[in-house]
Symmetry: C2
Subunit: 424 residues, 2 copies
């Protein structure tokens, strides 16, 4: 009986586990810090009050409950001991014959961790509900404010980073302020909301070709988003964002810029790239430890174009399934060819009913791209019930321009004097 | 133009506002600490992972957006100045011609506020998701634990207070452990979960007649709940609950015992009862301040039986609507008869498919009572969309025994070393 230990229940971990489920001679343990698998591509919808946390997350335990050879624990992995074939977690130490590390990525503030409290990133459900609280609270603050400067500051939103997450957030805030909130306020005109998307590169969505990137920029601008390219953020504090020497007074600042791999990779003492991703072999194992696999956002593996594979769900899913096959083949004494990523394309969405998509020679923009985006995301959402609820919620939002989840759970957010979200 | 100021967007406040909506010569301002109206009778379902926060809450702003004479602010009222006809809030000071205080109730720990961190109560969405996190985390801790005593402690749940909330929580934990979770764990038998409901009085659900209270106790015991009546809690700490000199080692302790009216009533310098409720006249005004109304859980008004009206949604709703009529009548110079509560009965639910209900001479127990409970609660849930989603979720849970919202948002809860629910 081979002991397979999986750290992380994201796309890579879950796909590996499912493929190993009920396989003979394999005993799987999956450990994750959270009790749920998260459909991260839709996390921005939770942050923007379009979906509920439960619509895009499912307990890992439930997803895997039919596989009798899989045990799930909620715990944090702290250190890998590759020579002893053990992983030290907060809930105990676990042995393995084969180890799959799929711990994903987290935000990085380029050495400015002090910015985090002013500009939260979007990786977990907690962060999504916190962003939702801040965005909705800003409109509440503006409505109640009688001071013009304070109101202006409350209605200024700055999003740092013009990648897919930044674009999604900026587009959704634009749409929410122009359509959803317009008729609900008496003292403010929500359509006057100022939304600034800051990007260091000369254009947004650099993973796409220039024509599509330009199209996305035009669509964002129609939603009232100002795009500042070639702009470096030099400081962030409780009053706003500094771009070079210029200051933007803003109550709400969101972070979609830097990403770094999970710190667990650092405990391995193996080669890592600048983002902390672990460099893996052709079969996704480590050079000196053929029993350790690394997958998903935590792994650095080159694609056909000579660049590292992007931190996207399809890469993680394919890698997870590949590793599971390789483990089964190894047990059965069969060979396994190197991992090859099958690129089905990429997409980014810009608010309601606009997107860009690029697959092989096919480029889609605007509404057709959005329909493709919608179809693919519903198709991939794990679990039938979630899918149905998501379709209902989206249908409802689309036709009514309302947002079903406009809840500030806890108090209204403001930076001073209310950091604590308790009920007292 | 009469300025009506409503503090609190619960059942009383929302019903008063809706009835004053678009009325001539009335300008309404509603202020609430939260941005949402909460359907509190179903809050325990959020705590027990059966429903999502957004299913039972709706933004006050949205609920009232069609009434052009109503302005909504999110803010905390701090002090009433009855002689100056002003209310001081954290977001500013607001004048009124007529004031409606409908701030509801909060938990009280009978002078032991230090118990709160160990035994959270259930009044807000934040508290509901915190209770959910603790309950689900307890099963996770038990699954990962190799020590028998630690596992036993993790699987012990103590609920303090045998009123409707305590009964609902105990029943739901019983049901969840016996049905929902049974097949998802490998190391523990969730059916061995120990659930203790502690009540100071000689029986649970004292608002009901003895026969129905006994029936509810039997139904609870079938779900594995042990009921300790005539039992006084003497201390609560991070390791468990003390009942007299006996100690129950328990990881999860929930509080459903004491209730006290909002503290805002204390700033009025008027007569209050022992629970801090403000004593009101026959027309729900204050004795010396006929322009101030108090309604809902914050008000002390005697019913036909000579006892104060209970802190229930129907009382608050009827009082809210009564006050609105009285204000309109006053403006039009018409008289208004004293407030009279129309008692349609009371009900309490015990897990899935059991309840007790008492209306006039009609007493229902078990499944028929539960169907009545379900029907009435769906009927009263605010807003069509929420209703539809709730019916779907319940239908799904009923037939699959699953719970759609079994998410621990944030980390696993344990008292030491993890009080902080951050993502780092």
């Amino acid at each position: 009986m081979k002991k397979v230990l999986i750290i992380g229940g994201g796309f890579a971990g879950i796909n590996a586990a499912k493929k190993l489920g009920n396989k003979k001679d394999v005993e799987v343990t999956l450990i994750d810090r959270r009790n749920h698998h998260l459909f991260q591509p839709l996390l921005y919808q939770v942050a923007m009050a379009g979906l509920n946390p439960a619509d895009i997350a499912a307990p890992i335990r439930t997803l895997l409950s039919d596989y009798k050879n899989i045990t799930v624990y909620q715990g944090s992995a702290e250190k890998v001991l590759p020579n002893e074939k053990k992983v030290v977690c907060d809930i105990g130490t676990y042995e393995y014959d084969k180890l799959i590390l799929a711990c994903g990525a987290r935000h990085t503030y380029f050495g400015h961790n002090e910015w985090e409290e002013f500009a939260p990133g979007l990786k977990t459900l907690n962060q999504a509900t916190e962003i939702r609280r801040r965005v909705l609270s800003a409109f509440e603050t503006a409505e109640a404010s009688t001071d013009i400067e304070a109101r202006k500051k409350a209605l200024t939103f700055v999003i740092v980073g013009g990648g897919p997450t930044g674009v999604e957030l900026a587009g959704a805030i634009g749409e929410m302020s122009r359509f959803t909130l317009a008729k609900d306020f008496r003292n403010i005109d929500a359509r006057l909301t100022r939304i600034i998307l800051i990007e260091f590169a000369p254009r947004i969505l650099t993973a796409f070709d220039e024509d599509q990137s330009a199209r996305a920029a035009r669509d964002l601008e129609k939603l009232g988003v100002q795009i500042w390219t070639n702009s470096a953020v030099t400081n962030i504090d409780a009053t706003g964002v500094y771009v070079g020497k210029e200051k933007i007074e803003a109550q709400t600042i969101l972070w979609g810029a830097g990403v770094a791999a999970s710190k667990l990779g650092n405990t391995l003492n193996v080669e890592q790239d600048k983002q902390g991703r672990v460099i893996v072999e052709e079969d996704l194992t480590l050079k000196n430890y053929p029993d350790i696999f690394v997958a998903g956002d935590q792994a650095h593996r080159l694609g056909k174009d000579g660049k590292p594979l992007p931190g996207m769900a399809p890469v993680a899913m394919q890698q997870g399934r590949y590793i599971a096959s390789k483990i089964v083949n190894d047990i059965e004494g069969k060979p396994t060819p190197p991992f090859k990523y099958i690129d089905k394309g990429k997409m980014a969405t810009i608010g309601r009913s606009k997107a860009i998509a690029h697959s092989g020679k096919l480029k889609l923009n605007g509404f057709p791209a959005w329909v493709a985006w919608l179809f693919i995301h519903i198709l991939y959402l794990t679990g039938f019930k979630n899918r149905l609820v998501v379709v209902l919620q989206w249908g409802w939002s689309y036709f009514t321009f309302k947002r079903g989840s406009r809840l500030i759970v806890g108090k209204k957010w403001r930076f001073y004097g209310n950091e604590n979200n308790s009920d007292n």
